[in-house]
Symmetry: C2
Subunit: 235 residues, 2 copies
């Protein structure tokens, strides 16, 4: 891998010819792992202004400084689709965050339910996973990873204009991929939602309970498959 | 987890009231991990005759013996869809096999390409992963995991009646999920197929190169997303 194929997320707003001191892990990666030299160019993006070419201008023990050069791709609209999923074991939560980012979600909202085994999560770690996935998959946006919320609290404040598709293996109506406005996919815990939770969810008029096919999917697979169906047809 | 919720794959053909000695790992799991007792019932399937209830009839140091009782679900047709994917690093290959099994593929065919990093794979391990995924996701069939083949050899012997969809991020025609006959999804290596390989693939009249959406997906995500689109609408 060459320096020019590196793509890093950098907090913005970016503009040319701004000088930017990279974070410690990014500086370490560029200077020590990739052995970048002054003058090398790479790509950066900030989720606000788009993707830019930047050049390494200073390498010190403390930080690598880059200068923003040319805008390669201006910021563009991305689908406004949330993933709300009951927290899973660590490796599966990591997988859900990484794959949801690749597939194009805008917000990742972990939820806590009666049958959720995990109730704690390292948000910084999940945000790092989302950043790394966005860097690698050429997205212009890093999805926002929100703090876990109990499902009833999330539903009590559900936004009026956002369609919510809840994966439900007992349903037969297929998840349609024609959704174009704000939307969300919700995936419950391995043991399913409780009756009380389903009532809280069903109270929202934006909710549609949908099938993801005739096979039983693990929760993280349901998240990936559901997002695929919702997002594949979107620009 | 109780014994009655256990579901095991057992080589068939099964019939009632056959006595079956379980394999060593299965016997160990039932006797020592789950502490099954004589008389406990569980579910078994063989991929040939369907899913059966069985009862533990003998627990010895060597093996657990079960007796096949009642047929719970007769064997039914499943989609005839192959996954052909360029071998990935171990964890990603494992993920592709597990998720492809959940999503309902019939055959998993690893392929070797010029830009494939791996050329060796532990087939027994991949088969165990497919069996475990089939056990957990209630499928009646365990997909066949085939030995890796160079992509040109696979294409030279491509079956006449099997439609092949090749994931290609440069294409804009979306993968359609209306396929009902024998089909296959092919996913190339991270670096893409070479020109020579693409020629060998394009020579087959059954090939359609398709997009999986506007975002760049890692290879294992492309496999999962592509199979979702192909299989979600199938019974």
């Amino acid at each position: 891998m060459s320096i020019s194929s590196i793509r890093l997320f950098v907090p913005g707003p970016l503009a040319a010819p701004l000088d930017v001191a990279l974070s410690e892990p990014q500086s370490h990666y560029l200077a020590n792992v990739m052995r970048a030299a002054e003058g090398d160019t790479l790509r950066i993006f900030d989720g606000l202004t788009g993707e830019w070419q930047a050049a390494v201008t200073k390498i010190s023990r403390k930080a690598v400084v880059i200068q923003v050069r040319e805008c390669l791709r201006p910021q563009a609209a991305e689908p406004d689709c949330w993933l709300c999923f009951a927290l899973l074991k660590r490796a599966k939560t990591d997988m859900a965050v990484e794959k949801a980012t690749e597939l194009g979600v805008s917000v990742i909202q972990p939820i806590i339910t009666a049958r959720t085994n995990a109730d704690h999560v390292n948000l910084d770690r999940l945000r790092s996973i989302a950043i790394e996935a966005a860097e690698q998959c050429e997205r212009l946006v890093v999805p926002e990873v929100r703090a876990p919320l109990p499902v009833d609290k999330l539903m009590a404040a559900w936004p009026a204009g956002r369609a919510l598709f809840v994966a439900d293996e007992r349903r037969t109506s297929a998840l349609l991929s024609t959704q174009s406005g704000p939307s969300a996919l919700m995936v419950g815990p391995e043991g399913g939602f409780t009756g009380t939770e389903l009532e809280a969810i069903a109270r929202s008029p934006q909710v549609t309970r949908v099938s993801l096919g005739s096979r039983i999917l693990r929760a993280e697979t349901a998240a990936i498959a559901g997002l695929t169906l919702m997002l594949a047809a979107q620009p």
